[in-house]
């Protein structure tokens, strides 16, 4: 059993309520930070912990916090990014639903470290039912003196607000989120300036993922160094993985960073193996935006090293033979899954979610979706496959925000690793009429 830091209390009855949470050691991180530490000491612990952003990009949280512009008298803001909309990722929702006070506690400590007196939780529009849960937790924390003016007589004051979005994936991008929070159209901003100097209302702002911020409480309690002992290399601590797809036990799991991908997929403690004892075909390791990995690269890297659930190991091999941990949304495909259909599905998502601001993403995502639709529906041409590779290359790196890259990578990687299957679709339109046509080897059997 791996150590649990975030989800350790999840099974305690009544943990949703303040009293039970408090009686089980809750809010002691706030006490410790506000009563015995200076904001800079808190920041130091977070730096020492080595925790990297859990929202996708994996940027070290301590470093991000130290970039916050402290030179002006403008107010500073902390924004908790709860817009979780990446296909395959559903860990933040789980955390907020089951352990709202853990998040609130993290927000208080983090805001204290940043010198922010206002904190926003920007929550995905579809998560309406969570708004009540969070607001109740905030209400209780306020009633008990952990939010509001002069918290625990430390002189530090904080307000936390929950702000639901209107259901747009792009509003998870930090600058689009800020625009949306300001009441504008959710278009990503052109950077620079970065939020650390000009964010919400043009004031210094830090945006962090729910899981990142929820981990701050435990880090303060156990100490940054202790936290950094968990995991390997630059992947410290524990990570929530949303596991879905053709596995026996889909769900949210907390892992110690550094267990092997094989263990995670096959151990009963986690995914419990492939559904129906089928063979593994591919995985998407970090939510739909990251490159897909074929079976031969899942357990071992191209260098024949064991593939681990860490930022570094999953990225080993670059885009040729690696992928990314991203937001930790693991999707498993069995031998019967059609990779063309899956790629089309992802592509449809990005086409639908593009904000339409910059031309490569606005036009390119739609183009890719239409071509993939044709291939999957038996109207592909052989030159379409190279065309797709070329479109994805033309989008990648040329856009305002990373959504363009996120749309390009799944397509490019699927063709890189499963070109045969794309060609099969083009050459045998009659054989792919049947809905279950993922296993092209099987289809060749007379």
């Amino acid at each position: 059993m791996g150590r649990k830091i975030l989800l350790d209390k999840i099974d305690i009855p009544g943990i949703l309520g303040f009293d039970v949470y408090r009686n089980n050691g809750g809010y002691s991180a706030v006490e410790k930070a506000l009563k015995t530490m200076s904001p800079d000491q808190v920041l130091d612990e977070v730096k020492k912990s080595g925790i990297r952003g859990r929202g996708g990009a994996g940027f070290p949280a301590g470093m991000k916090w130290s970039f916050l512009d402290r030179s002006t008298n403008n107010p500073r803001y902390l924004i908790c990014n709860a817009d979780e909309s990446e296909p395959g990722t559903f860990k933040d929702r789980y955390l907020m639903e089951k352990l709202p006070h853990l998040l609130i506690e993290g927000l208080i400590v983090s805001s204290y470290a940043l010198g922010a007196n206002t904190c926003f939780i920007y929550i995905r529009g579809e998560f309406k039912y969570l708004v009540g849960i969070l607001e109740k937790a905030i209400f209780e924390a306020r009633k008990n003196g952990f939010i509001g003016k002069n918290i625990l007589s430390s002189g530090y004051s904080l307000d936390i607000y929950v702000h639901p979005g209107a259901g747009a994936y792009i509003c998870g991008e930090e600058t689009a989120l800020i625009e949306s929070l300001e009441g504008k159209r959710g278009n990503p901003r052109i950077k620079p300036p970065f939020p650390a100097s000009k964010g919400l209302y043009q004031c210094p702002t830090v945006v962090n993922n729910v899981e990142t911020l929820a981990s701050i409480g435990p880090i303060i309690i156990m100490g940054g160094e202790e936290y950094a002992k968990i995991g390997t290399g630059k992947s410290t601590g524990t990570k929530l993985i949303s596991a879905s797809g053709h596995i026996n036990q889909p769900g949210v799991y907390e892992i110690e960073m550094g267990i092997s991908v094989e263990d995670f997929i096959y151990l009963d403690e986690y995914c419990g193996g492939i559904r129906g004892s089928k063979k593994l075909k591919a995985i998407v390791a970090g939510g739909s935006s990251v490159p897909v990995l074929p079976e031969n690269l899942v357990f071992k890297t191209a260098k024949n090293e064991t593939r681990l659930m860490t930022y570094e190991s999953l990225a080993e091999g670059g885009f040729e033979s690696g992928t990314m941990l991203g937001s930790g949304g693991l999707i498993v495909y069995d031998e019967d899954a059609c990779m063309v259909r899956n790629t089309w599905n992802f592509s449809r998502f990005y086409h639908h979610e593009s904000c339409g601001q910059c031309s490569p993403c606005r036009e390119g995502t739609g183009w890719m979706e239409k071509v993939l639709y044709r291939i999957e529906h038996g109207q592909g041409r052989i030159e379409d496959i190279d065309l797709l590779v070329n479109i994805s290359k033309n989008i990648e790196g040329n856009t305002i925000c990373p959504l363009g890259d996120a749309a390009a990578w799944p397509v490019a990687s699927a063709i890189r690793h499963f070109r045969e299957e794309f060609e099969f679709h083009v050459k045998h339109p009659e054989k792919i009429k049947n809905k279950d046509h993922g296993n092209i080897q099987k289809l060749f059997v007379p």
Partner: protein, 322 residues
């Protein structure tokens, strides 16, 4: 001050200047093309990506290149920065890709489009586009609509540069229109279809780089290259009254703002000057207008341009004959 090298030309500019502005100071064929940036509109730029350039050295202190191509219109210079535009094959390749993206949903209806001949998209595709299209799918299709009494909106031709939105916001003074929906079905729209009544609303026609917003008083009257442009002015109580009038013989067919070599108007003009003053007695003609921007309006010069080469600014400008 910052010293910047762009395609081997060195220029010194104040800190905070963008790469594009620095390039415009140098001038000539190293100036990146722009479809969305407009120096007179705050917040514009960064969207179309036609102005992408390569920063091969970030600054004097940091000799590393920037990892991606950057939008020159919205990236500030740094002292010692080295930029490549037309000297970088990577940039030209990317620009070609961008033009293709801008065109896949474009109706290519230049033969019936009033903008033809003075269209930035046309010029851009002539320089950087493919000869044919690789796009075999259906194009997006909107009905064209009247927005206000003077302006026609052909959403099919729009490249979503947002310039008209900023114009309505900043020049016309009232937030009268904006963008609806998102992605490739996003569209320019007014809150209530025909509510554009502001005295300066006509300027959205001038800032539009394509034929999406056209002048209804000039609709289908003439191809622009059959007209002769003259600088003219009148004593206008609302605006500067400094315009370009476009004549066919003795008759004034249309009135526009005066544009500089980058296709931007010098001064925004009012709707009365633009739409109502079409009599020759209304205007004092100053001189024939130079069409600085390379264009078919400067007739016969197109012949000299080799496709694929980088177009040089015209050395000698044609004097329009009356």
């Amino acid at each position: 001050m910052a010293k910047v090298t762009i395609d081997n030309h060195v220029v010194e500019v104040p800190d905070g200047t963008t790469i594009l502005q620095a390039a415009r100071l140098i001038g000539g064929d190293i100036v990146p093309p722009t479809m969305c940036y407009y120096s007179k509109l705050e917040g514009s730029g960064g969207k179309c990506r036609t102005c992408l350039v390569k920063v091969s050295q970030s600054s004097g202190k940091d000799s590393r290149p920037m990892p991606k191509l950057v939008a020159s219109c919205s990236t500030p210079v740094a002292d010692g920065m080295v930029v490549q535009n037309i000297t970088s094959p990577e940039v030209l390749e990317a620009r070609k890709a961008i033009v293709e993206f801008l065109l896949i949903n474009h109706p290519l209806d230049c033969p019936v489009c009033d903008q033809a001949g003075e269209c930035d998209l046309q010029n851009l595709s002539y320089e950087h586009g493919l000869e044919t299209t690789r796009y075999k799918e259906e194009r997006r299709d909107y009905p064209s609509v009247d927005i206000g009494p003077y302006v026609k909106l052909h959403m099919n031709r729009c490249i979503l540069c947002y310039r008209c939105v900023y114009t309505a916001d900043q020049i016309a003074g009232k937030r009268i229109h904006g963008i609806l929906y998102r992605g490739d079905v996003a569209e320019i729209s007014t809150f209530i279809q025909n509510s554009i009544e502001n005295e300066f609303s006509g300027n959205i026609i001038d800032v539009c780089p394509v034929g999406a917003l056209t002048d209804k008083t000039f609709r289908f009257k003439s191809r622009v290259w059959f007209l002769n442009p003259f600088l003219a002015h009148r004593d206008c109580p609302t605006c500067s009254g400094k315009v370009t009038v476009w004549k066919f013989g003795k008759e004034i067919y249309r009135v526009t703002g005066r544009k500089d070599q980058f296709g931007e108007v010098d001064e925004f003009i009012c709707n009365t000057c633009r739409f109502d003053k079409k009599g020759s007695e209304d205007w004092i003609i100053e001189s024939p207008a130079n069409i600085d921007k390379q264009s078919v309006i400067s007739q016969n010069h197109y012949m000299k341009i080799k496709k694929g080469s980088i177009i040089k600014p015209l050395e000698q400008k044609t004097e329009p004959q009356d």
